[in-house]
């Protein structure tokens, strides 16, 4: 009998007799017999841990795209960054891992202070004063930002650049079914948002990404001007690693910053759990979604931290809450604080610049291959899109045979056509380079792609 239950048969007997019962079944006697499970659950018998581990080895051996086995050039918001032993060990401390939401601040100062430090870092990287304690991921952060915009001006029209990650947009569209928001997508021209093509009158929000999902650094001046002209909120999704060197969301005039925090110490993890980054201007503080930690003092005047502005939250405001978020991604936020502490002011800059150096070196080498062209002529940062003469997914599969995960096929992200790519979206490949990739690995990428496209 494999499980984690401490009860001995003797103790079960004692406890039942204390309750005046003689079988466990009596505890459930009040449940109508008609709905009871009669034959047990249709599951296997329990197995020991080593037996379950053996089953899991079948799953892991069928995952060919392990970054430890296949050199990773895939990005699309999820990056293979260095996560050192010290970060893994600190973030893996069971006091952080096995705690609940910090409802009792007297015994939760560890998590609360770590979140306060995380909030400080997100505020600095976003250039906005009011961060929250995390959301599920960037996509749900976008949904919360749209709800905030609706709360601010009671309008429903959300004008979103297709430079915003296709998955984030997809999630926003799903949740718009409930809120009734009208999502208006703005296409890209040469990788840059064609703001002139859209009527933004009566918009609740203008949403852009920086760099956009194709890696292009767009000048955000026109997006901001459009938001100002229509009195809409300007929501900017930004790469938090690039935020170490590029202009911050605040510097571009954004009212809300959202982002994907996975690059700060979280592994690729097949897409989750990740970390939804969120910060906003002072004007929006009463509409902030999720939790926020604030500094205060205890009854002995010692510095303390506590979740605050609780009157916005679902357990108090119920149907009038600013959001339904309860559980968030605290452990990833704590991890981000530790990873950023390890990188420090200059480490983060170094990582950002090295990513850009690697990406530019690879891009320039790829442009020498016949049949490989660029999707945008505009400046990119650490990721770029290339156009092949054949299906990008097939090319990826053949590169995988040579041990290289060559990127992410854009059509696999969009599940069909998308106005971010003018034509033949199935031939477009998104490629990234992180600070972990050596020149040797990049040169090998070039060789393997050359072979895959049959040059």
């Amino acid at each position: 009998m494999a499980d984690y239950l401490p009860h001995t048969p003797d103790e079960v007997g004692q406890m039942l007799s204390f309750l005046g019962m003689d079988s466990l079944e009596q505890l459930f006697a009040h449940i109508p017999a008609a709905v009871r499970v009669s034959q047990g659950l249709d599951l296997l018998e329990g197995m020991s841990e080593p037996d379950v581990a053996a089953v899991f080895r079948q799953y892991t051996s069928a995952n060919l795209a392990q970054a430890t086995e296949m050199t990773c050039f895939a990005g699309a918001g999820v990056y293979d960054h260095e996560v050192p032993a010290v970060v893994k060990m600190l973030a893996g401390r069971s006091e952080f891992v096995t705690a609940y939401t910090p409802y009792q601040p007297e015994v939760a100062q560890g998590v609360l202070q770590a979140i306060f430090e995380y909030q400080t870092l997100i505020s600095r990287l976003s250039g906005l004063p009011i961060p929250n304690a995390s959301l599920y991921d960037a996509a749900t952060a976008l949904v919360e930002a749209l709800n905030m915009a609706h709360g601010a001006n009671a309008r429903q029209k959300m004008v979103i650049s297709t430079g915003v990650h296709p998955h984030w947009r997809a999630v926003a569209k799903t949740f718009a079914i409930g809120t009734g928001h009208e999502i208006v997508e703005v296409g890209l021209k040469d990788g840059v948002t064609d703001w002139g093509s859209v009527d933004a009158s009566n918009a609740a929000a203008i949403v852009a990404a920086y760099p956009n999902y194709l890696g292009v650094m767009e000048d955000m001046t026109s997006a901001k001007e459009m938001a100002l002209a229509h009195d809409a909120l300007f929501i900017l999704g930004a790469d938090p690693v690039a935020a170490g060197v590029l202009k911050t969301a605040g510097q571009w005039g954004a009212d809300v910053f959202i982002g994907e925090g996975q690059p700060f110490g979280t592994p690729l993890a097949f897409g989750g759990p990740f970390l939804g980054l969120f910060a906003c201007s002072n004007d929006q503080v009463r509409r902030l979604p999720g939790r926020i930690v604030g500094e205060t003092v205890d009854s002995n005047q010692r510095r303390s931290f506590v979740t605050t502005l609780r009157a916005r939250e679902q357990d108090i405001r119920r149907e009038k809450a600013t959001s339904n978020v309860c559980t968030n991604q605290t452990l990833m936020a704590v991890t981000a604080a530790i990873q950023l502490g390890w990188l420090g002011t200059f480490g983060l800059r170094e990582v950002a610049i090295r990513c850009a150096q690697g990406a530019h070196y690879l891009h320039d080498e790829l442009m020498k291959i016949d049949g490989v062209t660029t999707v945008s002529s505009q400046p990119f940062f650490r990721e770029f899109a290339i156009r092949l003469t054949s299906n990008a997914s097939s090319v990826l599969k053949s590169m995988a045979d040579d041990g290289v995960l060559g990127g992410v096929a854009v059509a696999a992200l969009t599940f069909g056509d998308d106005s971010s790519i003018a034509h033949d979206i199935e031939n477009v490949l998104l490629v990234t380079v992180t600070e972990r990739r050596t020149k040797e690995e990049i040169d090998r990428y070039v060789e393997v792609l050359r072979k895959a496209v049959g040059e």
Binding site: N63, T98, Y100, Y103, G271, T308, T327, I338, H360
Partner: protein, 505 residues
């Protein structure tokens, strides 16, 4: 029994060291220090100016912190010493199911074969992950009695909203615009908040004097504009809704759907399945029922399982087994779309599958049995000290009340909860459900021993004695924890969410 008590839970007080304030990461920072070490790559060192046009450059350096690795380790280790956790002691927080988190499941999730896989890699290169996800889906359906599930929702509240959107899609497909969702007055706060975001209005159904849904009042509230009802069963009082079949029939009769809030699923594993009770949509909190660690407030995972008639609406793309035995991402025909940036909180999903497979059907049934046994033992053990709001057989949790202590000695439920921290136990959930005066909601879970339960009961008896002898001191508890009661009003009145908003002079 009492004499043999070994207070396992009390061991928790020892690690909470240090009553001095821990400096912030920023206060530890000294210009010129660093910790990071990166790979030597040989990539040409193009200058920043060549890489980034002027208009995009941040004119300022964004300050993070500058600390040595030694200081980093010291800082976060000391912070961890100021934090209670399941691994330190009993965490009887009602409705949260803070059971022991098996280390094996964490080790499974740390395997590079799972956690170094990029979510955007082609399905052909991630077959193991797709098989794992479809296997988990099948297990969750077997446990809940449903036909299919989405694993995308990142937590319970995300699952609730997903479920409401499924409800809306179902009714819309039938050309049926409905407006209202019924919710009992004992419901979790996420329920009504999700209803609003799902575009519906809330109608609250009162509980009867037995703490259950008032069937007559429910029937009176039903009508053709009702989209459905959200219920948790057992409810938040820890009581099983005995008239569930009648409730289901009444709601189905007006064309409504039944939504099961899986927060309390731990009580009924292998005992009764939501599908058999008539529910159409079920969300599960894997971080509760299936013991994935809660991480100080997340990550969780909130898969949603549905009955056959809702299968086509499930979020997608969804990992699916094809006829040739391989796996691919497939979008259900009338899918509501994505509800997560990728495929859900995959590492949490993997842990939950490992937990389910270790237990099997027989083990999961024991989980529910012993969770219910522990809650009833505690309820009965404390009947003189803190009587239950409804003193009859409960499920996995019991709602006790401190109303007598309040009337007689002016000691509130909150004071009892705070004093319990001094005893080395985490507090129960206080003032919830809202319909019970001075509520203290205890969920001991199945992984706590009889000895720990006894130690908890004795601690509560000591607190009740203190309420008689020195109520004033209780109102200032706890004093032995890293900080004492904090000034919450000040935190809200003068918001300091960052180091930069704080006055450090």
């Amino acid at each position: 029994m009492t004499k043999r008590a070994q207070p396992g839970g009390r061991a928790a007080s020892a690690p909470l060291l240090g009553h001095g304030t821990e400096p912030t990461l920023f206060e530890l920072s000294v210009p010129g220090r660093s910790s990071y070490q990166l790979r030597t790559t040989g990539v040409p060192a193009t200058t920043f100016e060549q890489l980034v046009p002027l208009v995009h450059r941040n004119p300022d350096v964004v300050a993070i912190a500058e600390v040595s690795e030694r200081d980093l380790v010291g800082h976060f280790t000391r912070l961890s010493h100021r934090q209670f956790a399941v691994d330190l002691g009993m965490y009887p927080l009602g409705s949260c199911t803070m059971k022991y988190n098996p280390k094996f499941c964490d080790a499974i999730a740390a395997d590079p074969g799972l956690n170094t896989v990029h979510p955007g890699a082609p399905a052909a290169l991630t077959q193991g992950w797709l098989e794992l996800l479809t296997t988990l889906e099948a297990r969750l359906c077997a446990i809940t009695g449903m036909a299919g599930a989405t694993l995308q929702p990142a937590a319970g509240a995300a699952g609730e909203l997903t479920g409401l959107l499924l409800m809306r899609a179902f009714h819309s497909a039938n050309g049926d615009a409905r407006k209202r969702i019924l919710i009992p007055d004992s419901a979790h706060g996420t329920n009504p908040a999700s209803v609003t975001l799902g575009g519906y209005e809330v109608t609250t159904i009162p509980s009867n004097d037995r703490g259950l849904v008032d069937l007559e009042k429910l029937k009176a509230a039903l009508g053709p504009d009702v989209a459905g009802i959200m219920l948790t069963n057992p409810n938040t009082l820890g009581l099983f809704e005995e008239e569930i079949t009648e409730i289901a029939t009444a709601v189905h009769d007006v064309g409504g759907l039944l939504y099961y809030d899986g927060a309390n699923l731990n009580a009924i594993l292998g005992v009764v399945r939501p599908g058999d009770m008539g529910f159409d949509i079920v969300h599960m909190n894997l971080h509760k029922t299936f013991a994935t660690p809660h991480g100080g407030g997340g990550p969780g995972a909130g898969p949603v399982a549905v009955s056959k008639r809702l299968l086509d609406f499930l979020p997608g793309p969804k990992a699916t087994r094809l006829d040739d035995g391989s796996f691919d991402w497939v979008k259900p025909v009338q899918s509501i779309g994505r509800v997560h940036g990728w495929h859900g909180n995959a590492m949490v999903l993997a842990r939950a599958l490992a937990y389910i497979d270790v237990h099997g059907g027989d083990g999961l049934t024991r989980v529910a049995q012993y969770a219910v046994l522990n809650a009833n033992w505690l309820r009965h053990r404390l009947r003189e000290t803190l009587p239950a709001a409804h003193d009859r057989v409960c499920m996995h949790e019991c709602v006790l009340t401190a109303s007598t202590l309040k009337t007689k000695y002016g000691v509130r439920g909150l004071d009892v909860a705070k004093a319990l921290l001094e005893e080395g136990f985490h507090s129960p959930t206080v003032y919830f459900p809202l319909i019970v005066e001075e509520a203290l909601m205890f969920e001991p879970t199945e992984t706590e021993s009889l000895q720990t339960l006894e130690a908890l009961a004795e601690a509560l008896e000591r607190i009740a004695q203190r309420a008689i002898n020195d109520p004033e001191a209780l109102r200032h508890a706890p004093q032995t924890t890293p900080v004492s009661r904090v000034d919450e009003a000040r935190a809200a009145r003068h918001l300091i969410p960052t180091e930069d908003a704080a006055d450090r002079s």
